[in-house]
């Protein structure tokens, strides 16, 4: 269908967008936010990949293995964030779905074909995306740039610590902002598909109805005419308000489903994010097992001058003879390794270092040219550096979790508030026929309970599954067992209930202010 043939349809679409500016702005903002999230995630993955390739250089095989890790994390969080952005964008379109279904019915009754209505939807989606997606890409790249800057600041400390540990300068870690065309294209494609699908859903519904049925839409949910059995227990415990809540949840499927989806995805986001953060924390603590270590001793050799195990043991015993000192043999294997490290907890660092040197020279002999080297060092600088890095990484991961939580909470609140707005008329009707505020609160409380329970039922297993995927792809190399994120599950359990009840309460106070008659005439 060529564009010039749909000028009438395009005019109706454009005018509708213009005549309802607050809704249009809201929709564009939702698209911007979705596109920003997707583009930031894609950009971050691109930067992570670049970091690994620069760091590991020629060793492509190893680089591949590590990029698999980055991609696992990016895929897990990307998937969850894409689902979140789909919910945000479709909320915006859902708010006007009833109105649009009605409009499509009207257009159908005066002779618009399904092709013409689809063209209207595509036109609207592309029109709104043309504004929202570029804005989203800008915002997403700004977030990416800012985040890359923060990570790079952390890496300055990491690199300093690595240098102190004896790493050479050309293998520094750098996390830089990378503009990647494939990442950008992916972000645009995912956002556009999200928008078009969200816009198309009401059109599909209108197409499945005859024009007469579509025009009859009241603007809210089309209830499913199915039988709902309310258990006698619910009725006894929660009264008729409870029974009503069950019926709304079962028959008014779409708003209920939207709430459950938003809540579930938030639970998944929180559990996965927390698991990621605690995993990082554990892998860092394991990298620094002896908090009191003040001095280190190293034997570094070429392959044919490995230290025999017997010699390693003799050195260990001798080193431990230094007064008030605990010695840990850090690295050694049975056939002797290229690098053997002893760490010591002592107060007299300088005394220990000279003592250690004399012990080594006595047992393995003085270092000769490039066969092997002996080193002793003061680790206080290293531990200070490591502590700074740990603090920085901790800040970063918990900041990440806080950001995810914020996204999740915003998403839930926007969904609950949208639902309540869509039901203004319905609520006014209930009040007009004699439902008191108290009855009304009771009904809404019961509805909140239903959607929270359902969301946790989906969210917790899914979140646990994602945590496990993250574990297998990203943390297995750290030789940890899988620790179930009980705390995160408990927090999300309490959080879901608190947030749903609070959001419902806020929306309810707004509804209480509306006059019954105004709402009925809406």
């Amino acid at each position: 269908m060529s564009a010039s043939h749909n000028s009438a349809i395009r005019r109706v679409t454009r005018r509708s967008l213009k005549q309802n500016p607050s809704h249009t702005v809201f929709t564009v903002l939702a698209i911007t936010l979705s596109a920003a999230m997707i583009s930031a995630v894609c950009g971050f993955a691109a930067s992570g990949r670049q970091m690994l390739f620069d760091f590991l250089g020629e060793d492509v095989l190893e680089a591949r293995q590590y990029s698999a890790m980055v991609y696992t994390a990016a895929a897990v969080f990307g998937l969850i964030l894409v689902a979140t952005s789909v919910i945000i964008a479709s909320n915006a379109f859902r708010a006007s779905a009833g109105e649009r279904t009605k409009q499509f019915g009207l257009l159908g009754s005066i002779g618009a074909t399904k092709g013409q209505i689809t063209a209207a939807v595509v036109y609207e989606g592309v029109f709104l995306s043309a504004v929202g997606i570029p804005l989203g890409l800008l915002l997403g790249n700004a977030i990416h740039l800012l985040a890359a800057d923060i990570v790079e600041t952390l890496f300055v400390q990491v690199n300093a610590a690595r240098m102190a540990h004896g790493a050479n300068g050309d293998s520094e870690l750098h996390f830089a902002y990378v503009f990647s065309w494939p990442a950008t294209a992916l972000a645009v494609a995912v956002s556009l598909v999200t928008v078009l699908v969200s816009a198309w859903l009401p059109a599909r519904r209108a197409a499945s109805l005859s024009p007469v049925e579509a025009m009859r839409q009241s603007g809210g949910d089309a209830p499913a005419a199915k039988s709902v059995k309310v258990s006698p227990l619910t009725r006894a415990l929660f009264g008729c308000e409870g029974a009503l809540a069950v019926k709304y949840a079962k028959r008014g499927r779409r708003s209920y489903r939207a709430t459950v989806a938003a809540l579930s995805i938030s639970v998944v986001l929180f559990i996965t994010g927390s698991f990621f953060a605690s995993g990082m924390e554990r892998s860092m603590t394991s990298a620094m097992p002896y908090a009191g270590v003040t001095a280190g001793v190293e034997y570094i050799s070429a392959t044919d001058h490995r230290l025999p195990l017997a010699a390693v043991e003799r050195v260990t015993v001798r080193l431990a003879e230094f007064p008030d000192t605990i010695v840990h043999l850090e690295e050694a294997t049975e056939d002797g390794t290229a690098l053997t490290v002893w760490l010591a907890e002592t107060d007299d660092v300088e005394g220990f270092r000279s003592y250690a040197m004399s012990v080594l020279e006595e047992i393995v002999g003085a270092p000769q040219s490039d066969q092997y080297r002996l080193n002793t060092y003061d680790t206080s600088k290293i531990t200070a550096g490591q502590r700074a890095v740990m603090l920085a990484v901790r800040l970063f991961t918990y900041g990440f979790v806080a950001l995810l939580t914020l996204i999740a909470v915003t998403n839930v609140i926007s969904t609950v508030v949208t639902n309540m707005r869509l039901r203004n008329r319905e609520f006014a009707l209930l009040r007009a026929i004699g439902m008191s505020r108290k009855n009304f609160s009771k009904m809404l409380r019961h509805e909140s309970l239903l959607s929270s329970a359902r969301a946790l039922l989906y969210g917790i297993p899914l979140g646990s599954a994602f945590a496990y995927i993250l574990y297998t792809g990203f943390m297995r190399s750290t030789e940890f067992g899988f620790v179930y994120p009980w705390l995160a599950v408990a927090i999300s359990l309490a959080g879901v209930i608190v947030i749903v009840f609070a959001a419902t309460k806020i929306a309810q106070s707004r509804i209480n202010r509306l006059s019954v008659i105004e709402a009925l005439h809406e």
Partner: protein, 224 residues
């Protein structure tokens, strides 16, 4: 020859699989309307008269039976063919006007033609607009107009494509008696002037009497 003919037309609501009780909105209607005839349909609410009108115009699909317009069975067509057939041959006027709120009077009137990518017959459209007293309202939006004016816009929209048949579902239902009579007069005049067939639903016996013939529907059947 009849321009409009129905054979054993049935419409039942509620699918047999569900436990919702099946409602027989129309239960076997046979009707024939001659070219240029003005027929009014009366009946109590819930009798099935709106359902009949929607089926006559192909806005809804029947459970059984057929509607023939100009000898052509319309439910043999695919959805889009039916939509296109409808916009060329049938004009609808609804009780609730159903104007597109974001389009001006003139744009609303021309919309069916534009959807059909047809070139509007300018002098004819002007004539219709003048006849309906909308000449100085062309650039107004629907919500700037009174109910009677909005209904006249809806009639103009129904007439613009010069349809052979006009189907009107209680076009005077939201108007006061004077406004109602004005709208009826205009419908009748345009029907006569442009040789159109009109089927009109009404509650009002006074308005029903203006028609050449009155059909009464009760419980989904025609009663005489």
């Amino acid at each position: 020859m009849s321009i409009l003919r129905t054979t054993d037309l049935k419409k039942h609501y509620g699918s047999p699989g569900s436990d919702a009780v099946s409602v027989r909105a129309l239960d076997g209607v046979d009707l024939a309307v001659e070219r240029g005839e003005f027929v009014s349909v009366v009946g109590s609410s819930g009798s099935g008269k709106s359902t009949l009108l929607h089926l006559l115009g192909g806005l809804d699909r029947p459970t059984a039976g057929q509607v023939e317009i100009g000898g052509q069975p319309i439910f043999a067509m695919r959805d889009d063919e039916l939509t296109i057939f409808r916009r060329r041959h049938i004009g609808f006027v609804f009780q609730s006007y159903n104007l597109v709120p974001v389009l001006t009077v003139e744009e609303n009137i021309l919309l069916p033609l534009e959807l059909d990518r047809a070139r509007p017959d300018g002098p004819f459209v002007d004539q219709v607009i003048a006849m309906l007293g909308l000449s100085n309202r062309r650039r107004s939006l629907p919500d700037q107009l009174s109910g009677g004016q909005q209904q006249r816009v809806a009639i103009a929209r129904a007439l613009a494509a010069k349809p052979a048949i006009i189907l009107a579902d209680e076009p005077t239902g939201n108007l006061d008696s004077r406004g109602g009579m004005d709208v009826m007069g205009l419908l009748k005049i345009s029907g006569e002037r442009f040789g159109q067939t009109i089927v009109l639903i009404t509650h009002n016996p006074e308005i029903a009497q203006l028609a050449d013939r009155t059909i009464r529907i009760e419980d989904g059947r025609i009663v005489l």
